[in-house]
Symmetry: C2
Subunit: 414 residues, 2 copies
């Protein structure tokens, strides 16, 4: 496949009028005068090619719950709305929820997502079918000991897939015993996998951990030997200075979810201190039930402006800092090279710049436009060398919208 | 004009399968079985009709500065970047900046905007040409005493226009003397106009006012008889309890600009206290130079989630509260009835619901989707009975994008 005449965003800089040659699932050559040795040519004149984005923390099947319950306190929201719905979930609900989520991610230029939820086989199958890349963890809770039995078979089934990477997902310190956390860690070590966990999301979680263990959640996890560079910890809002040092020392990766944290009123994460300490932070949208969309561009804007305001520092958290967090840091966290350079995986999207919010477009400040102005315009999304959306068209979109609508109605009236 | 088969959002509730008959600039009939007595029929099957949105505070010509200077402290940003550019502004810059801004507003379902800037004749002419409704104030500064001379002629020229409503725009208490503020107020009273002012945007503004006048900006304005229901005050972040009571007692309208306030790190406005005190608050995007787009939907989301988080109250600032602020409160502030009911002005937009972010769409929670999930999909925008965008097409869009790009390049190299 040859992408012709695109402006390329590489490491925050725009290089004009470039051709990108893709073979199989890799970018093999980038340059001005490449010839097509392939049938498929994508005319990218007037387009900005950007590297694939990674959603660092979500629960994709929950896209089916979008707008079902908003504006509630965390516990009533979970107990009265989310958990009763989740208790009724079938594989078919998951399939349509994940399809709907994939549709949205493709439309928004996201080529990979990091998930934790139920029915991971179905999630993996649908994600493959939709063509996206994903790191998938079946959630582990003590309340549902059967889930642990599913973890290893899931890993074995998917560990050699080129799009799906299995991981292990103990839910959080307040829902998993030390034994569960140890089993999760051992499984991750045995198969060299990531560990995906919610960490220090609410003040209540920290208070409970101190009551129960005499330690913060981070201290507790460190004391049981759980923390390492294979951990991706979502949220990380309520951290002591010692917690931050520990996360840095153990090389834990953090998925920061600004919109969800604000919508659930969980708090504002100490992003400045995490970054200063050298913690690798990337961005996630969390589930559409607490966001309520999956837009990483909106997440970037919110992260930048919320942090600026929290510290009264308009000159910190600059667009280029946020862009690096959303791209380079995510590639480091998930050990994926989507860098839009020769040899990288062919995960990228083309953005049509003929939109009012990209004008004026001196292209010296493309990153500012992506972080602060972006209101849509992804024209083409390519994952692993496959075109998933072209000229804004995703095959089968209408059917997915209809069927997931029907499936949601079936779920809530079941 | 007959709009056929739309779902209608009226006072937060969705009514399905409605026809809307528009004659001249008014909605004259709404019902299920209306016949067309007109040539123009708009098929709105699968669309949600929403009332026209009002951008309560912006500087539309500054859309030309989008992304020109970000991530700076307020004073260097103004002194090194914005003011030098503004010193070079010509009527032609304003014309293309306003055209570009109107284009974006039309695309985002905004049918009216409240502006304060330079070259208001040009702004008014271009806005009329583009078909939008606007309340326009030439900015008044003591540094530029000539601007005061332009105010009354501008009012006389436009006071009987059906789309453009002139207003008086003294910039702020730190840039206008008591004499200027009195002249502005007297002019507003003479012609029965609104007064548009920046108020208590930064802590520094308040500190300076206390140093200079021994009063907060609100106390000072009240002491000189400036405050009344004709005032629309932008920002209102740094307010004492007494200030809030005064704003309520004087029936001042507030334009809250959450995104700009966060991006410039000005602070978080005490929206809960303003609303409890009975102050009429609506929403504005501020200029695209500090936002960097003009999307009121994004403003709604940011307002809701920032306020929830600031007060650790996820159950406050609900989607329906924010929707009311963005619509009903704006209609009250600007004395405009855009309510999507018989007799109202025909300002509305049609939203194509076949987007992933509107799915599932039980239509019982349309307001949640508009406030929290919305990522585009405005298909048709109608202002004053005229169709400005249909099926996503705005005549002349490409030319505006090209010409405003050229104009920006000319401005920065001039």
């Amino acid at each position: 496949m040859l992408i012709k005449g695109a402006s390329l965003l590489q490491a925050g800089e725009v290089i004009r009028d470039q051709n990108v040659l893709i073979e199989d699932n890799r970018i093999i050559k980038i340059g001005r005068s490449l010839k097509a040795e392939d049938d498929e040519i994508i005319d990218a004149k007037g387009m900005l090619a950007i590297p694939g984005l990674i959603n660092g923390h979500t629960h994709l099947a929950m896209t089916l719950f979008r707008g079902y319950a908003d504006d509630m306190k965390l516990m009533p929201w979970l107990e009265e709305k989310i958990w009763p719905l989740e208790a009724k979930l079938t594989p078919k609900d998951i399939q349509w929820g994940v399809k709907l989520g994939c549709l949205e991610l493709i439309r928004l230029g996201v080529t990979c997502y990091n998930d934790m939820y139920y029915f991971m086989h179905e999630t993996a199958e649908v994600t493959r079918e939709m063509g996206l890349r994903a790191i998938l963890s079946g959630v582990l809770f003590d309340m549902r000991p059967d889930l642990m039995n599913e973890a290893e078979p899931f890993v074995r089934r998917w560990k050699d897939d080129d799009l799906i990477r299995p991981a292990i997902g103990p839910h959080a310190v307040y829902t998993c015993s030390e034994e569960t956390l140890h089993k999760a860690r051992d499984l991750a070590e045995k198969y060299d996998l990531m560990l995906h966990i919610h960490l220090s999301e609410t003040k209540d979680e920290v208070d409970r951990s101190i009551d129960e263990h005499g330690k913060t959640p981070v201290e507790y996890l460190d004391s049981i030997g759980f923390l390492s560079e294979r951990v991706i910890a979502a949220h990380c809002i309520w951290l002591s200075p010692g917690d931050i040092s520990t996360l840095a020392r153990r090389k834990v990766n953090v998925a920061h979810c600004s919109i969800s944290n604000h919508k659930l009123a969980s708090g504002i994460a100490p992003l400045d201190k995490l970054l200063s300490a050298g913690v690798n932070v990337c961005l996630g949208t969390d589930g559409a039930s607490s966001n309520n969309n999956l837009d990483l561009f909106q997440e970037m804007k919110m992260t930048a402006i919320a942090q600026k305001c929290a510290h009264f520092k308009p000159d910190l958290f600059r667009a280029e800092d946020i862009w690096k967090i959303a791209t380079e840091n995510a590639y480091a966290a998930f050990d994926l090279d989507l860098r839009l350079q020769e040899g990288s995986l062919a995960d990228l999207s083309l953005i049509d710049l003929k939109k009012p919010w990209f004008c004026p477009r001196p292209l010296t400040n493309a990153v500012s436009h992506l972080v602060y102005s972006m209101l849509g315009g992804v024209d083409t999304t390519i994952v692993n060398g496959q075109v998933l959306m072209k000229e804004g068209i995703i095959p089968g979109e209408e059917e997915i919208l209809e069927k997931s609508q029907e499936q949601f109605e079936d779920l809530v009236t079941r």
